[in-house]
Symmetry: C3
Subunit: 261 residues, 3 copies
């Protein structure tokens, strides 16, 4: 018996309509024993970056082989590609707009395929709801053991929006702020491998400051600014019982520059 796989769903569909249920119905019609877990369906409408962050924050906790479906898809009905990405840990299915790539790259991508083979879609594909008609069947077939290479041609250059890009310059590393949480903590797109081990010189907007990378929130005094690799695997700037985003005037998309000391 193949290992039991899980399918996760992330979208901006909300909980008031039946869209999410339609997706789950399609998955169960193809694979009646599926286990489907919602990441969230309350991504703000068309906000690809927040969708990407939520997916990247949840994916590391799922078992090997999990198929992650994400649908924040302002380009549905246009020529934007539909993708299935295979990684060392699992699979990602959704639009080629950057939604999947942040989480997928952290798992080590081993292949990206365009979803073009109608055999793995619903018989009628609407122009507006690929979540149900294209992505859900693809995920259910992967869960059943179909190799995503059968879905369509290999994709070499998926869309990589600014929020997944990290620039390694001669003296510094430039990343972006991915997300500001409800406590005002700043989550950047920089990963452990992007960050020199010891003291960091950090620049956000016009403020420059120097910090040692901590291991936990507990290691600082109240009101101290600290830097740590958060549970999602990204560099985070926080103020113990304070609001870092406010202090540094940081928003989603703001640049952050790290200079090794």
């Amino acid at each position: 018996m193949e290992d039991k796989k899980v399918i996760t769903l992330t979208s901006d569909f909300g909980y008031a309509d039946s869209y999410v249920a339609q997706i789950k119905g399609v998955i169960h019609s193809i694979n009646p024993t599926s286990t489907i877990i919602d990441v969230t369906h309350e991504i703000s409408k068309f906000n690809i970056q927040t969708g990407a962050f939520m997916l990247a924050s949840a994916a590391p906790y799922f078992p090997k082989g999990t198929v992650h479906v994400a649908v924040v898809d302002p380009g549905v009905g246009t020529k934007r590609r539909a993708l299935a990405i295979k990684t060392k840990q699992g699979y990602f299915v959704g639009p080629d707009n950057g939604l999947l790539i942040l989480a997928a790259e952290r798992q080590g991508i081993t292949g990206i395929y365009e979803l073009t083979n109608p055999k793995y879609m619903l018989p009628e594909v609407s122009g507006t709801f690929h979540g149900r008609d294209v992505f859900a069947p693809a995920a259910a077939y992967i869960e059943k053991g179909v190799n995503p290479a059968r879905f369509g041609p290999k994709v070499e250059e998926p869309v990589r929006p600014e929020f997944v890009q990290v620039k390694h310059e001669k003296d510094s590393i430039i990343g972006r702020i991915l997300h500001v949480d409800s406590f005002g903590n700043i989550i950047t797109n920089l990963r452990k491998t992007d960050v020199p081990k010891e003291t960091l010189n950090i620049k956000i907007q016009d403020t420059e400051f120097k910090l040692k990378l901590k291991k936990t929130y507990g290691e600082t005094k109240p009101k101290d600014t600290m830097a740590l690799i958060g549970s999602h695997g990204f560099l985070e700037i926080a103020i113990n019982r304070g609001n870092a985003a406010e202090k540094f005037n940081a928003k989603m998309g703001t640049e952050i520059t790290i200079t090794p000391n």
Copy 2:
């Protein structure tokens, strides 16, 4: 082994209370291997018509044999009947107030039974929460293979509210507007079989217009009005990048008259 069945839930209970969990607990107590999928629990309180539409929009995507439970039940505690409906595709369980009938009729009804046999209810049935005490056990027993004919007497005339009725008159067909979605698209209660194949003369409120039935949204220019059979199987009037409900002054319940050309 019998085919794996799915149970879906639709209600106006919201997500903040434990009502939905109580229903799921009862189902799992009777049938520990149930797979339960939420359609939505955010139907506005006591809005039977929206509940009926949401259920009808989701049901076609579920596998054969699925048991759909729906609870929008302003009449609970009165003499309104509780029903189990068997169709060619699956089962529907809920109050006899029109909530189930729209979705069930589309699947071809083969039998309707009143839930009167206390053997298939919880030992204590409250006057206020039949979702948990009556409908959940019935659904779990159907999933286990119990024939709904054992629940109680046959029902010949279920409640059919105005929103499920279509009048076929000599020269025209009169339906109702079921739902206006967040884009202002108008979804009617007319089905493919109600609609002549070619050009349609449509009247909504005081506006009359002529349209050809399209297959997809893509076939029209921006601001064009169009008619198509939507993914839910109902005739839909939409304006490409516009708000049809506003233009035609259409609301839930408004009449729509179709005259074949």
Copy 3:
């Protein structure tokens, strides 16, 4: 084969973030065949009493052996203990702040254990998210058959906040109001065994009144005040088509005194 167990989740995490999904991912990583049911994640932030009531209202409907995880945890990161409670009906996992005890005591507690053994936690335990790092693994291991006695030392005196306490005095029984529902019905922390069988003298704030315990809502006339043991197993004071909380000036935490007649 061991009986199929269900895991339930109750929290104040909301549905917009990926926290709940992270918990589910951890559970499925340890036990891929888990069935996880949400009670609710919309407990108002840090409101232990409402969380305790929601859990206590849902738990009785779940099958024997169910593992209930609850996370309303303002003390996370402090020295508050993490608990697994074994009862005659199932298991409860969460912080030692009163959240679990109301529901657990109704099932008959047979053992309480502190979660201290790192073998049954994630390899890295954050200071802020024990729901994922400590409680989720404990629940998954219980579902797999691990005896909670292996998690850590026995706890003899769990935290019992005022809202779970009932004082039996010479002539009277003093309880607290647990919850006021959206109809203004008053749910107390008094159970069937706390309440004398026949007529009750009840005092809430400055109002005293005498009532016979009813079996159902149906037994009274509109506007009559009534007392009954509700479906959650607690004494409830309600007014047929009226608002009892308003009439008696009752809020969450208000004392209620019962004097047997």
